[in-house]
Amino acid sequence: MTMCRGSCQGAGRPDMTPVYPTAGSYPDFARLVNRDTAQVDRRVFSDEAVYQAELRQIFARAWLFLAHESQIPGPGDFIRTSMGEDDVIIVRQRDGSVKALLNSCPHRGNRVCMVDAGSKARGFICNYHGWSFGLDGGLRGTDGKVYEKDESFEKAQIGLTPVAQVASYKGLIFGTFDPEAPSLEEFLGDFTFYLDIMLDNEEGGTEFVGGAIRSEIDCNWKFPAENFVGDILHAFWTHQSGAQAILGGGVDLGKRYDELAFQASVYGHGIETNLDKVGNTRTLGYPELVDYVFDLSERARARLGEVRARAIGAVSSATVFPNMSFLPGQNTFRVWHPRGPGKIELVSWTIVNRNAPERIKDLYRKGVMMTFSPGGVFEMDDGENWEYSTRVNQGFVTRQQPLHYALGLGSEDLERNLPGIVHKGSLNDANQRLFYTRWAEFMEHDNWADLQNGATAAPARTRAAAE
């Protein structure tokens, strides 16, 4: 597009519609994931061109977690976050709905909201030239008294670019830049069955503890996402020291550990879980929380059924594709924002049941701080693994060596009547393979019909049967 020089038609108003690249404008990056050999090419973790394609094909199209409803309870309450590397403002409107706006002035592009969060905002004013935007993103006015008289300027047509779609699932607000994307519920698919373990185990739903912990890790965003999607195996080796500190013993769940456990995946979202009721909760180190979860699990059986009620506090982890993760029972909730192929910003919160006693909420806050926070006895040892898994790929020969993701090939569980693609045992690479299969689908396909009907789609089993 060439810039109008003032002599064009339509009183010189430039067309501001952006043009996005399509999958065909990139090399065939989908082939970097080889499903037949269960291998992943290391360039997915280090290559700048792959990363730029991810920002377009994945982060500009997938539904991404934006905020918890409890963070912005009233009109004008807002938080600032990222969608990929795009800075966005999530703000409650006067009618109670939520809008997400690109945090960039349409004039010179400056960021209009500089803070992490705030309440009862009247709007957002750009510091550069005083352009003022309402809570709905619409331009209210400027500071120069000159624009209104200029024919290139039509106030009603200028504003902060809205995120195309915003929707909530049980307290979690998501958004997508893609107006063509299917509904949030279709994007999550049957994975909502598993999200409910954390989001809907009790009347009243959930809320976030105030504030957030932000930190930088020099790793590719997919390492932590795949870790939470299905890698409980690492806990036995990586987290020996943390388990010893809190539980007085290494991570050892006994010989029968994997008999009840399973992995389930839908559209690349995945959960690995045992059914031990309180395995995760125990690692927070507070017996009161273990008692609370035992009780909660009993009460939740009517609501969630036996399997999910046992998973509320069990050894378990989950990722919603691409970059939102949580630990049921341990109650850390986090997003891995990409910041280049070799860096992330990790934002983490503590999620609690809204109707839990205040004492319980505070113990969760403290327990998460002790375990999954930069000073936490588990998270400390994760970061270094992910950093070096990323950084060694600077070596040319090193990054030609494929990575092994073949544990549990052929272990699909066709008998267990649960939603999603289910695999036996949780010591299994199954969910990670499906995470990268989903990644490849996003890199390959431009239309959502292909995206929603490929290898990561759940087989047609009824949820009713599972419940």
Partner: protein
């Protein structure tokens, strides 16, 4: 509880500076503490520098508008540390495990302490102590993390010595520019 031990309260009165001898003794205490942490002698730190009723708090620092009544941090919200002695002991228990991979091989630590000010309080057994710090951690070949911040400590006199009864740690970073916090500040 004496008000000054309340972790949610910032220091306010700086009108009763301690005498030079007390100030020197406190400075010696803080420098010795820093050297103990540099040596990763965490059990010694608990045994000789920390009191039974320690409250050790480091909130996350939010970026907020000046007009925002909440301010950049609030006790009870997210924090890096909000520990009693039993919780500090858990952290120390991990450090001494050979499989604490983020500490094996060892991290090289340096705690630089400066801007020390010592004030008497309403309780003759308690001193209010302000200091600033630079914490440097270097690991493996080129990994380096630097954190700057301020501390508001309450020290309790134990004969000629002191013990830490309260520590508020306010860092200048919003996003922690490090993958972890494998140290005490």
């Amino acid at each position: 509880m004496t008000d000054i031990l309340d972790i949610s309260r910032p220091f306010t009165a700086y009108d009763r500076p301690a005498d030079a001898e007390t100030e020197r003794a406190v400075t010696r205490f803080l420098n010795a503490e820093a050297r103990t942490l540099d040596r990763e002698a965490y059990q010694e730190w608990l045994d000789h520098f920390v009191d039974e009723d320690i409250h050790y708090w480091m909130p996350d620092m939010e970026t907020r508008n000046r007009s925002d009544a909440r301010g950049p941090y609030r006790h009870g919200d997210s924090a890096y540390f909000d520990d009693t002695l039993s919780e500090l002991k858990v952290r120390v228990a991990r450090f001494v495990e050979p499989s604490a991979w983020a500490d094996n091989p060892a991290t090289r630590h340096l705690h630089l302490i400066s801007n020390i000010e010592v004030y008497e309080t309403g309780d003759p057994s308690l001193l209010a102590v302000c200091s600033a710090f630079t914490n440097v951690r270097n690991r493996n070949e080129t990994d380096q993390d630097v954190i700057h911040g301020r501390r508001e400590d309450v020290l309790r006199r134990h004969g000629d010595d002191f013990r830490l009864a309260r520590r508020r740690i306010l860092i200048v970073q919003n996003v922690l520019l490090s993958k972890n916090l494998n140290t005490f500040l």
